[in-house]
């Protein structure tokens, strides 16, 4: 079973950088020996795509750039753990997704703390119901729906439908079997459809329990 990349532009975007993965392994080896410029070359190759992935989770551009920097720093710190027989990209994106999801979990805890600290009339509106005062545009509406989805579904949708990673690439990033990823893709699309349609119909959608949503392991 293989999943093809349907968008030619993204095929170009996803293609291995000049020199291919063999060149990346060599750059990592040189970087491991202390040559930061070799690591800089890897940063320049992957920063655009990494930033794009993180921005799908985090709205604020500066926060996304900070998280991308954190990702590269973490990758550099763990350079000895990198398996040179594997591709650099999935390893880096796995770190990036973990860094971003950790950030979002911390922020969510802070938001809950703030909510419980506030008086009732000051609380923000329930995000599961559409804001009747403002006609939101498509971007805001989609983001609101994505924010309502469980982390495991949101992560899969971001990687597959917004960033066009193939199922096999997602399997490498999330360290899951490809069959599991396909199942999750189907589930996530169904869930997005359900919440989207409910929202458009003006119904409140129950927020799903996140449960054991820890999508990645690193």
């Amino acid at each position: 079973m293989s999943v093809r990349m349907s968008d030619p532009e993204l095929q170009y975007k996803d293609a291995s950088p000049p020199g291919g993965s063999g060149s990346e392994a060599r750059l990592m080896e040189v970087a491991r020996q202390g040559d930061s410029e070799a690591f800089g070359e890897l940063v320049r190759r992957y920063e655009g795509r990494l930033l794009s992935v993180i921005r799908r989770f985090v709205t604020d551009v500066e926060t996304a750039r900070d998280l991308a920097q954190d990702t590269f720093l973490k990758a550099y710190e763990r350079i000895d753990q990198f398996d040179p027989s594997r591709r650099f990209g999935p390893w880096l994106f796995r770190i990036g997704v973990n860094v971003t999801l950790d950030f979002l979990r911390r922020r969510k805890r802070r938001v809950w703390f703030t909510l419980f600290s506030q008086t009732g009339e000051d609380r923000p509106m329930d995000p599961s119901t559409p804001d009747p005062r403002v006609a939101r545009d498509l971007e805001q509406e989609v983001r609101a729906v994505l924010d309502q989805l469980p982390e495991k579904h949101r992560t899969i949708l971001v990687l597959r439908d917004l960033e066009n990673f193939s199922s096999s690439e997602i399997a490498a990033i999330l360290q899951r079997k490809e069959a599991t990823v396909r199942w999750r893709v189907a589930e996530a699309r169904r869930e997005f459809q359900r919440v989207w349609e409910s929202r458009q119909a003006g119904e409140a959608c129950p927020i799903h329990e996140e449960g054991s949503d820890d999508e990645t392991s690193d």
Binding site: V3, L51, R65, F72, R143, R160, V185, R189, E197
Partner: protein
């Protein structure tokens, strides 16, 4: 005509179909089912609609080109290397030179304490008795030997212990 495959079995395939995630063989099975199943065609239409929304969102939110992150990453790497090298110099100094006087002092205090417990008349070097001047008299009254408790001087006076510096404007003779 009754579809050859069950609707429940096709549901997952439909969700994959909208994103082009099926192989040609899988897609052919789905198409065959759809030809004879109205409810699955309606289901597929709903899935296509919401998937199209996601695709539109993706197109509208493509990131413009941004300045490279490398200068910032490089600066942070340099800072962390500098702090690591500084820690590498200071740690042995703290570990070897810094802790020895503290531990030696603690051992000395314990030794003095033990000796004084064993022998009440023991006076450490530099130690002595404390005397108090009685008002109207030139005679000095000896209160007792000074005991050393880890640097805090206490005075034995008939079973009462007083902290020397708190109670008396004594004439202290050592």
């Amino acid at each position: 005509m009754k579809p050859a495959i069950d609707c429940d079995q096709i549901r997952q395939q439909l969700a994959l179909s909208v994103g082009g995630d099926l192989t040609a063989v899988e897609q052919a099975v789905v198409d065959q089912h759809l030809a004879g199943c109205v409810s699955c065609r309606q289901d597929l239409a709903g899935l296509r609609s919401s998937h199209a929304v996601l695709q539109q969102y993706r197109e509208e939110t493509m990131l413009p080109a941004a300045p490279s992150l490398w200068p910032s990453v490089q600066a942070r790497l340099s800072r962390s290397r500098t702090s690591v090298s500084r820690a590498g110099v200071s740690e042995p100094q703290f570990g070897r030179a810094g802790w020895i006087p503290v531990s030696a002092l603690a051992a000395a205090c314990v030794a003095v304490l033990v000796l004084s417990e064993m022998n009440p008349s023991f006076n450490p070097p530099g130690g002595g008795a404390i005397t108090r001047s009685t008002p109207g008299s030139a005679e000095a009254v000896e209160l007792g030997p000074v005991e050393w408790y880890g640097g805090l001087n206490r005075v034995s006076d008939g079973g009462l212990e007083r902290v020397r510096s708190m109670h008396y404007s004594d004439t202290t003779t050592y």
